[in-house]
Symmetry: C2
Subunit: 260 residues, 2 copies
């Protein structure tokens, strides 16, 4: 499967159809410009309250866009024609807190009792950042965004507990205020940064070794800027170790029909 | 038990202590000026996901301030020293959608699996309305606020479904814009009105016959103004008829330690 030359101009339906037929991509960052992207967390019904409460208690990391009814793979609000089992480029399957598989099609793992949560994604504000003149280094470098576990604990909820995960973008120092202002207009996609500058303040030892995604090189004069990240629920799965969950593979998101 | 002459100047702790020892009042509107008040919905753990999802899908009616852990009667964020079983003036006990009892102390009905939801209340912005010159007619008249079932359906969630409930305040026409602006600053307490003017537009036949609370007389030149109301979950209990729930009695709220 050849990837499109210009994924930014695909419609969400075209992109999802590509992924449904088996296409993969290192990241959906930059795809379907102008459309919101979402993190996926699908958990059994008996974990759904913990998951929704975890999101409610950690709204910067987990802004909930939609919750499906148990077993329903179709997100009726964000993309009614889509199928959450097949329309993402890649999935992670978690069992007892361990990612046991990464697959391109989650149909074989789907269960009738799964409740899916779509959670806002910072890719959704990258087009607005770019339009404001902020370079998106990982897109320039053809890489996935860099994501890190921090030393900031989330507020736990039932069986879900774990650290905040952040995405990092190197931003030219003179454009940091712009990046704060523009991303702040996207409260359902994590909003403004949680931290600017020294990664040690978040307990991050080495920006060259992300916990998820790819290392992204800074240009001279860039400052690291950190946003709350929708991979945070995956860290909570790893810590809380509930029986079963399906998530997106970090950086390879669900592309919705909604305008960003 | 004699009620205080000036409940507006009590601290929340003083008011809750009064209610704990058995005091009742027709309404907590006007009590403990400057402090947020909350609706209570406590449901068994197996209904908690439906309740939280119902709140998430109907945020104007159900802005969630806090969710307790199962069985825990103490709201750790909003008033850690309080006890939700005893510190409200009155409770309603719902069984299979029917309010089977109204009691001043819910201890005998409490269960180890109950999850309590505290939901914002429009009483929390009444002090700000009054400070802006908007008369609060039901306080002037010594009555509970008037609340009505509407013909607007909420978005259902699992076993919870039902109509939007609104509170109504008669507001002098020249002050309606002020009331909209002031209440709009309180998004966690229902925010701006959902409707101004003709009650028939909400399917309300007779303002003199509220479904909850007391009838409140309009003065000449007043316009009825309607806000989403935290009694909405009680309407969803009546329609959805889940096994069991404890709520506050309409208009007799939980008074939190938080500033409004």
């Amino acid at each position: 499967m050849t990837l499109p030359d210009r994924p930014s101009v695909l419609t969400p339906g075209q992109a999802r159809a590509l992924f449904r037929t088996g296409a993969d991509t290192p990241t959906t960052s930059g795809w379907c410009r102008g459309h919101a992207q979402a993190n996926l967390l699908a958990v059994p019904r008996d974990l759904a309250f913990d998951a929704l409460l975890f999101a409610h208690r950690n709204p910067a990391a987990c802004p909930v866009l939609e919750v499906t009814d148990p077993g329903d793979p179709h997100p009726r609000e964000m993309a009614p024609a889509a199928d959450l089992r097949t329309d993402l480029p890649a999935y992670r399957i978690y069992e007892h807190g361990v990612p046991v598989a990464e697959v391109g099609d989650a149909t074989a793992y789907w269960r009738d009792d799964l409740v899916a949560f779509l959670i806002g994604c910072s890719f959704s504000f990258e087009a607005a950042l770019a339009a404001a003149g902020v370079p998106i280094r990982h897109v320039e470098q053809g890489r996935n965004v860099a994501m890190f576990l921090t030393d900031r604990p989330c507020v736990p909820a039932g069986r879900l507990a774990g650290p905040l995960v952040v995405s990092m973008r190197p931003v030219p120092e003179a454009l940091v205020e712009t990046a704060i202002e523009v991303s702040g207009r996207f409260p359902t996609h994590h909003g403004p940064p949680v931290h600017v500058g020294d990664p040690a303040a978040l307990g991050i030892a080495d920006l060259g070794r992300p916990d998820f995604g790819d290392p992204v090189a800074a240009e001279p004069g860039d400052v690291p800027v950190f946003w709350a990240c929708g991979v945070t629920p995956q860290a909570a799965l790893m810590t809380g170790a509930p029986e079963f969950a399906i998530t997106h593979a970090p950086g390879r998101m669900f592309i919705t029909d909604r305008a960003d």
